[in-house]
Subunit: 308 residues, 2 copies
Amino acid sequence: MREIVTAALQMGPIQKADSRRQVVDRMIALLDQAHAAGADFAVFPELTLTTFFPRWYMEDQAEVDTWFETQMPGPETQPLFDKAKDYGIAISFGFAELTPEGRHFNTSIQTDPSGEIIARYRKVHLPGHSEYDSDRDFQHLEKRYFLPGDLGFPVYRTLGGLFGMCICNDRRWPETYRVMGLQGVEMVTLGFNTPSVNSQLPDEGLQDRLFHHRLSCQSGAYQNATWVVAVAKAGVEDGHPLFGGSLIIDPNGKIVAETQTEEDEMIIHPCDLDACTFGKTTIFDFKRHRRIEHYGLITQRTGAEPPE
Amino acid sequence: MREIVTAALQMGPIQKADSRRQVVDRMIALLDQAHAAGADFAVFPELTLTTFFPRWYMEDQAEVDTWFETQMPGPETQPLFDKAKDYGIAISFGFAELTPEGRHFNTSIQTDPSGEIIARYRKVHLPGHSEYDSDRDFQHLEKRYFLPGDLGFPVYRTLGGLFGMCICNDRRWPETYRVMGLQGVEMVTLGFNTPSVNSQLPDEGLQDRLFHHRLSCQSGAYQNATWVVAVAKAGVEDGHPLFGGSLIIDPNGKIVAETQTEEDEMIIHPCDLDACTFGKTTIFDFKRHRRIEHYGLITQRTGAEPPE
């Protein structure tokens, strides 16, 4: 048994006017709960430190840059790192990263129990669009504000196991999990900010939105025999609703914990990484069963091309 | 609207002692039902013509070969082709194929409404094992009796749309759907014979087995914005139970029809191929969103290799 007591720390809404300091105080309050419950590892959402700013159209790059972090930890986030270190809890969270070279990414990091950053991931599958789209009920400008991630999907050893990260829309792409599965991943963590309404299909409804979210995360877990921990930023941000539905999913694809609110809320589960072994050595023993000679199009072709 | 009225024609159990003629009579009876219900297209299971013989360990190749077809159509299956042609119904079904060169495949074919075979698929992901395994409650010797398919996952034009096939265990592998999705597939059909009991995990239970089946088919449909029609051979064959759960799934990943028995049973649905368009042009517009530069391991590496 390699049990990692894992807390998914869902965040309720963050308004445009909220400060980093206010957000970090809320994160620390959730971390206090996780510590009280015996957590080894605590996972926060995508873009945890701010509102989901890609819904706002901005032309002034200086304004855009106010949503980004140039240091991690920086003065505002140092108290979170200090608290995690005090507690000996490894943490993961997402933020908008502005590099010294001026590149912008939708990033997440993971620390070890001593508070050191031991892994970094930059979102590969940016959803949405790059120019103002008057056909949408609201904007989703991730392709405007971020570059696609340049680090791939690294899997790293920590906490006695094999961990990987992805972010939000990445979870809908089976390639995401498979690239990590091929590195033996035992726990995939991800944060998300997902509008409760489809900006291009208002009739879709919240239940269908949650269904697609669960379907993507559960199939990724099952088909790679890995834990998946998916953590929402939820609730109504300046009039724009995001859904909750943070999940802890076992390597069998079963949901073992799910949030019930759209507020700051913890779910926690003792995740035995050895529970990955059965799937990885039987039906999803890749070495025995995969047939890469027939998968070529997956890496040869970006878009769909129907036959003549 | 490009509506294909599609019938999933689940077959109940076929015993070892049952003849091809008996089976074809049952297939024709189901086809009569499909015709009466206005079907354009009728889909039968994997290895429709016989019991699921890979559960039986055989050392005599002549005995093995009795389960295979050397002609398609052959004398025993010609009446089925004739009836389908009379009705103007395109059909798809699976059978064990022995080629003139002596190669053995787990194969399915599709006809057009005139009864001509217009596509052939050979199962790529063979589950199970090749030697007798005394640790299992029962055998699953597909790797003994079949070669892995050598035709990839072709997508072909028929019935005014883009169709593809896979078989049984293929449905658990996201690569299967993706390779077809990259060819614009609008309907994936598959047959299956899935034991109700996991031979390596008897406690798993039927509900978990059905959950994994639905999860795999639904995620494949959603993530490629395609219809998926999954058809069981079900019921107790010579003491060995197979589950039912034949499904018609829309391009949104929703189950629109599911069988309720483990017997010969039809489900039918008017499948509008144009319903694929929304997903294929928005969230799963591959050309805009996929990032093949990060998918390399999927085709470079067969088995999982953890980092140092």
